[in-house]
């Protein structure tokens, strides 16, 4: 290690233990690149003083795009000149995060040439995060990445890079092809990803089944979660095998079913599918015996977000079931309808979930032309204030006036 390596006793503590350490990784990168070396010094100073030394930039980017680059400068540029600019680039990851080692090497080589060499695989939205670049190197990095088929992702008030679980490529529970849908939506909404035009960010996440491995219900404005509308498939012999191998089906499956719709008489399992909540519990518990049905599609939910302005929200149901078939036009039309309304009436930095809460679900549905259905009730005792005009008679008005 070079002699002029900064002394970092505080952050060295983060190298202890059996788990990977980002400090160790930064030290490795610092052997060949001056930026990570300065980063170690700045980080140590921040830990010592308990002061953040980063300033947020808001203007740097690549030509024509309004998202995908997050400006960062440190406030001690004389002391740490190699990270005076330390911008982050978000790069659109491939669907399902599949790479060949060749593709990964290309990204890393480009980043070592133009930036700090440090990456974060992956950011919470799903992008490849390239950490630490000067303003001058942003455009050349972008051009080199573009030559290899990579594009920048979203940031700011735009569509954030859509992400998905690996779906049908590896998982037998996938109720639709998440990777195909994610890729299709990414291509369809290129303009909205690169040119911020919304009141605030908008995220799509695609999960192939209610296990929701990309946590779309908590982390996307539009959660597209695979489900089925026929009966759970059953292999009776496999159920018998589970029982004879010692599984306590009553305790571990039946009693934990939130729909209270499974019966087990010690020999036979039966499911009242009309009361099933599609939670996946029984299927996860007995994967050899139970599987989702064959009439599959997705449930579309809306509105989740992290707790910045109005607190954390989970998405709630907008469309209980829709077939997921390319080109997904019905969903795209609905999305455009919602965006038009949100852009027209939404406040600055208001996520669509907050917007719906402010204007009321009933009004929102009316504006976007979707009929209210019982599945949209987000939680027990919620009153969505839907006004059914067809049940309203002229006489009622007179009575009200009495």
């Amino acid at each position: 290690m070079a002699d002029d390596f900064p002394k970092t006793p505080l952050i060295d503590e983060l190298e202890k233990g059996p788990w990977p350490s980002f400090v160790t990784e930064i030290k490795m990168a610092a052997k060949d690149n001056a930026a990570p070396k300065d980063l170690l010094g700045l980080l140590e100073q921040s830990y010592d003083e308990k002061i953040c030394h980063w300033k947020h930039g808001g203007i740097v980017g690549v030509l024509g795009y309004g998202g995908g680059v997050i400006g960062r400068y440190n406030d001690l540029p004389e002391k740490y000149p190699n990270i005076s600019h330390f911008h982050t680039m978000r790069i659109n990851q491939p669907s399902g995060w599949y790479y060949s080692t060749e593709a990964l090497r290309k990204v890393c080589n480009i980043w070592e040439k133009h930036g700090s060499g440090l990456t974060n695989m992956h950011g919470s939205t799903g992008d490849i995060i390239l950490l630490g670049c000067t303003t001058d190197e942003l455009e050349p990095t972008f051009q080199d990445l573009a030559k290899e088929g990579f594009d920048i992702g979203g940031s700011g008030s735009d569509v954030r890079t859509p992400s998905c679980c690996l779906g049908k490529s590896r998982c037998e529970w996938a109720c639709y092809d998440t990777m195909a849908a994610c890729y299709d939506f990414t291509q369809e909404f290129q303009d909205e990803i690169h040119r911020p035009a919304f009141p605030y960010k908008f995220k799509f996440k695609f999960s192939g089944c209610p296990n929701d491995c990309v946590a779309s219900i908590a982390r996307s404005d539009m959660s597209i979660i695979g489900t089925w509308r026929d009966d759970i498939r059953m292999d009776k012999d496999a159920i018998t095998d589970y029982a004879s191998n010692g599984m306590d089906i009553q305790k571990d499956v039946v009693d934990l079913c939130p729909g209270k719709c499974i019966d087990w008489d010690g020999k036979e399992l039966s499911i009242d599918n009309s009361s099933c909540l599609h939670c996946m519990h029984c299927i996860n518990a007995m994967p050899k015996a139970l599987r989702p049905g064959t009439d599959t599609g997705a449930c579309i939910l809306l509105g989740s977000k992290a707790p910045i302005i109005e607190g954390a929200f989970l998405s709630s149901v907008l469309i209980p079931f829709i077939k997921m078939e390319p080109p997904y036009q019905e969903i795209k039309d609905l999305v455009e309808e919602m965006w038009d309304l949100w852009c027209e009436e939404g406040k600055n930095r208001e996520r669509i979930g907050e917007f719906i809460q402010r204007m009321g679900m009933g009004n929102f549905l009316e504006e976007i032309g979707v009929e209210p259905v019982a599945e949209m009730v987000a939680h027990p005792r919620e009153n969505p204030y839907v006004f059914y005009e067809e049940y309203y008679e002229e006489d009622d008005e007179e009575e009200d006036g009495d």
Binding site: K55, G57, I59, G61, G64, G67, G71, S157, R195, N348
Partner: protein
Amino acid sequence: MADMLSIDEVADIMYEMVKEATGMRKLKPMDLTKNLIEGYGEKVDKKLCKNAIRKLIESERCVYTYFGGSYIELPHREGAAND
């Protein structure tokens, strides 16, 4: 139906709006679109405004900025920038 404005005309009007607002308030893309529709009625629509914004940015007369939300401003050196 009224004759539509051209993309260049809309981009010029937007550019003037951004210039006039500089130093007083930041305009979001939607503010520009709303102002145009309010001022020019049927001579503009959302799609035309969207294309005009794209032209404004790609010609480098304006830039996208981010300060808690995304805005469109004249190119300038930002306060946080180091040399």
